[in-house]
């Protein structure tokens, strides 16, 4: 099997995540771009929620998609620690607070909570108990807030 660049990066990221290594901004990555990238990832999370909300409100009938959105959110949540590397505090307009890097363990734990709650949403959605889906969505919301409250500047959202 040929080792592709993407696979190599994936493997490295897995090792780093497993060992808890926090990478700095690599020489190639402009901090401004890293900030733009992570905002895109966050926007992705919000877009999945918007999609689920449209199903929940009965505006579209893609009920079978909810679990998939939740799984995608769990995958995005896994990326969070990596997309806040040391050295990406400044360089472009950002709502990331410096506390992220001072209190890294708490930040990483908040990302893990979102991953777990999203995975649980996927399970609950597959089970089809509609009351439970709504309640679990509330838990996901708390997981977003549980990180935004301490770690995101709250001015213009």
């Amino acid at each position: 099997m040929k080792l592709t660049r993407a696979m190599a990066i994936g493997a490295m990221a897995a090792v780093m995540a497993a060992t808890g290594v926090v990478s700095g901004v690599s020489a190639a990555d402009d901090p401004a771009k890293v900030i733009g990238y992570r905002q895109a990832v966050m926007k992705g999370l919000a877009d999945h929620i918007t999609a689920i909300a449209m199903v929940a409100k009965g505006e579209v009938s893609y009920a079978g998609h909810v679990a998939g959105h939740a799984q995608s959110m769990a995958s995005l949540a896994k990326l969070i620690p990596e997309i806040f590397p040391a050295g990406s505090e400044a360089g472009a307009p950002s709502e990331a607070k410096p506390e992220i890097w001072k209190d890294w363990d708490k930040f990483a734990a908040a990302a893990k909570t979102l991953e777990d709650q999203s995975a649980k949403l996927a399970e609950v959605a597959a089970g089809g108990d509609v009351g439970a889906i709504g309640a679990q969505l509330g838990e996901v919301g708390k997981a977003c807030g549980g990180c935004h409250e301490p770690f995101r500047v709250k001015k213009a959202q």
Partner: protein
């Protein structure tokens, strides 16, 4: 086991019926006064203020710090403990506290206790509320004294304030409005005390109803509190009733952004437990009030990635 496709179709059907948003215990009508009170305690948001969540305090045992420009208030214990809570209170004591803002000893409460809103509650709802509180486990936790600046440290300072700003006139239902709108108004003004946060205050700290629910840049604990009048540009005029109900159930805005702070608490400790009919009534009422043009949040600055920047 039904094939997967069938399960999904079933989920689809119930989601479409709106069941996703509506299924709560609150849809079973309560029977005893304490059960009715359990619902009112949710709708009125007593738990958020009277529980010291951060300090790991027990529910309703008080001790939560409320930081204000006048100093720090510590909410009292409202469990039925006879020594440190309200266990010795009569029905009349309780009704008087909520409807007049006066303690059993005759002292005037500070408006940090939103009795200006609760005074408009029906007496029946107040008594159900008391039945619920008295059915809870008593918890011994002596009250923490408030830490206020002069002259607000003098309770007597509340007296002129009340003369100027307090009215316990009940909310007369508007005969021209639909029952749903009147119910929504009761939930918003008497129980939910939404205006305590969403309506700006005058220089003496009284809610200024000229600007009813149009938001403020200096809300409780310095929070930005958004405009929730139906103004399209600066309020929630573009939100559907379903968008508003979804927010109350989950804490998510239609754009997928989560709510935090005081509103998150109002949802988690209260709103999300209300019946579908009541949440729809709140939403319908909010859409019926006069729109006020007032921008609370600054427009977002341009982004590093840019929304359409693919260079």
């Amino acid at each position: 086991m039904p094939p997967r496709g069938v399960t999904i179709a079933l989920i689809g059907a119930s989601l479409l019926a709106g069941a996703f948003l509506s299924r709560t215990a609150a849809d079973e009508p309560p029977t005893s006064p304490a059960e009715r009170g359990a619902y009112i305690v949710r709708a009125a948001g007593c738990i958020a203020c009277h529980t010291d969540k951060k300090g790991g305090g027990k529910e309703l045992a008080g001790g939560r710090a409320m930081v204000t420009p006048y100093g720090t208030f510590y909410t009292p214990n409202i469990t039925p403990d006879p020594e440190t809570g309200i266990g010795k209170w009569s029905d009349e004591d309780f009704v008087k506290a909520l409807s007049e803002g006066v303690s059993p000893a005759g002292d005037h409460y500070y408006p940090a206790f939103p009795y200006s809103s609760y005074a408009r509650m029906t007496r029946a709802d107040m008594l159900d509320l008391k039945a619920f509180l008295f059915a809870q486990a008593p918890i011994a936790r002596p009250n923490t004294p408030h830490d206020l600046i002069f002259p607000f440290s003098l309770r007597i300072a509340n007296w002129p304030w009340k003369l100027l700003f307090f009215s316990n006139r009940p909310l007369d239902p508007d005969p021209k409005a639909a029952p749903e709108i009147n119910r929504g108004r009761y939930l918003v003004d008497a129980l939910g005390h939404c205006g305590e946060c969403h309506t700006p205050r005058n220089i003496l700290g009284a809610v200024d109803n000229e600007d009813y629910l149009s938001g403020t840049k200096s809300g409780p604990e310095g929070e930005l509190v958004p405009n929730i009048t139906p103004d399209v540009e600066t309020g929630i005029g573009n939100w559907s009733v379903k968008d508003i109900v979804f927010l109350f159930r989950t804490g998510f805005r239609p754009d997928g952004n989560d709510l935090q702070g005081g509103m998150r608490e109002a949802i988690d400790d209260g709103l999300k437990y209300l019946s579908q009919a009541d949440l729809e009534a709140i939403a319908a009422y909010l859409k019926s009030i006069p729109p006020i043009h007032y921008q609370v949040r600054a427009p977002r600055p341009p982004k590093a990635g840019g929304d359409f920047n693919f260079d």
